[in-house]
Amino acid sequence: MTDRNVPAGIPNDTISAQIVAIAATRDMASFEALFREFGPRIRAYLLKLTRDGQAAEDLMQETMLAVWRKAGQFDPTRGQASAWIFTIARNTWIDAWRKQKRPALDPDDPALVPAAEADAPTLLELKQRGAALHEALKALPEEQVELIRLSFFDEASHSTIAARLGLPIGTVKSRIRLAFGRLRAALEEKK
């Protein structure tokens, strides 16, 4: 992870293949490999949000059970496996830990405005975009990446984060915007 020539992160195509195998044949070996790779990171994520070791362990297990149950819904041509696992961990945390719902759209709703038909990216393109995202994250100034991390790993609102860091709320928002803009630019090149 410290070697800057090696793209950081976990090989998403391996993870994708494992999730597909879980869906297709309920393959326990793939599930165990996925658990060994991602379980400790999901636990780390949930520990940051809950600051409670027992809750983090329980919610990590809930997340992995949901990954097992929902594996058939994962479409490896649509996006990164890690993004899919992230959304499952996030929703598990919200359902169990937050008192509010997170309203979400229904992809099959008749009132949904559909996207123009676009070609699905190839697996190679997806892989390149995953690597580009990691490189762009690494290249961000620390002050920006810190705020992105806080946005994802801390329940506090931007105004609370701003107060804690002794920054005006406008500065916090503009750093987040700058960081997101750079990641967006890095990925758009790979589209």
């Binding site: 379980g39 940051k48 297990q61 890690s82 995202l133 987040i176």
Partner: protein, 215 residues
């Protein structure tokens, strides 16, 4: 239909992170249902969440974590997915219909001068969600916001001194804006409005009756 007013990055990121409160999230979800472009941006923000998750230093758990998970898996019953009933066509998008308990023709509006409204119940006590129906060509009384107001246009359109908003557009107004939205002539404008503080009306009379009207 071309959407000109999109989600701000800070709303998008907080929604992707799951930390945005329920009231604001309802407005974000309605915009997303009407805006494929912002759905792509959400996918990017969630990919970022995935990348950050991959980069986290692993935290070891109890020695029997995997055994426990396997046992829970063996004992878990595979509940069959409940079929979701959807109408063949709809005007208002999900998740809004579920919050309202139906689509546009089933709603019971309360009169409010040139406008009608329905208060929407959410689990979020830091915001108030409402559906507004502004009569075609008519203004909403001039007001400013004690805090933030998110407005998503669902049908019709409105304009104020600065800008105009059509179906799918989202307006993000802070406490400094005083405006008087006017519905365009051709049809009533229905929008979802989320606020985190009572509106401040310029008219003293309206300020007095405000508590009675629940606005």
């Amino acid at each position: 239909m071309t959407i000109r007013h999109h989600l701000n990055d800070d709303l998008l990121i907080d929604y992707a992170a799951g930390t945005l409160s329920e009231g604001w999230s309802l407005a974000v979800a309605c915009h997303l249902a009407m805006c494929p472009q912002c759905r792509d941006q959400l996918a990017l923000a969630e990919a970022m969440g995935g990348a950050l998750l991959e980069d986290l230093a692993p935290v070891a758990g109890p020695d029997d974590s995997w055994e426990t998970l396997k046992t829970r898996l063996a004992n878990a019953s595979e509940e069959p997915a409940k079929p979701v009933l959807r109408p063949a066509r709809a005007t208002l998008p999900e998740p809004l219909r579920s919050y309202l308990g139906g689509d546009i023709e089933s709603l019971k509006w309360r009169n409010l001068g040139n406008a009608k409204q329905i208060l929407i119940k959410t689990g979020d006590d830091t915001t108030q969600a409402r559906l507004l129906r502004i009569a075609a060509g008519k203004p909403v009384p001039e007001h400013s916001h004690g805090g933030r107001e998110l407005t998503v246009v669902l049908t019709g359109s409105f304009h104020d001194a600065v800008d105009s908003f059509g179906p799918g557009d989202i307006e993000d107004a802070d406490g400094s804006l005083t405006h008087q939205p006017i519905a365009d002539e051709d049809q009533d404008c229905i929008c979802l409005a989320i606020t985190d503080a009572p509106l401040k009306f310029s008219s003293r009379l309206l300020r007095m009756v405000q508590p009675l009207l629940g606005i």
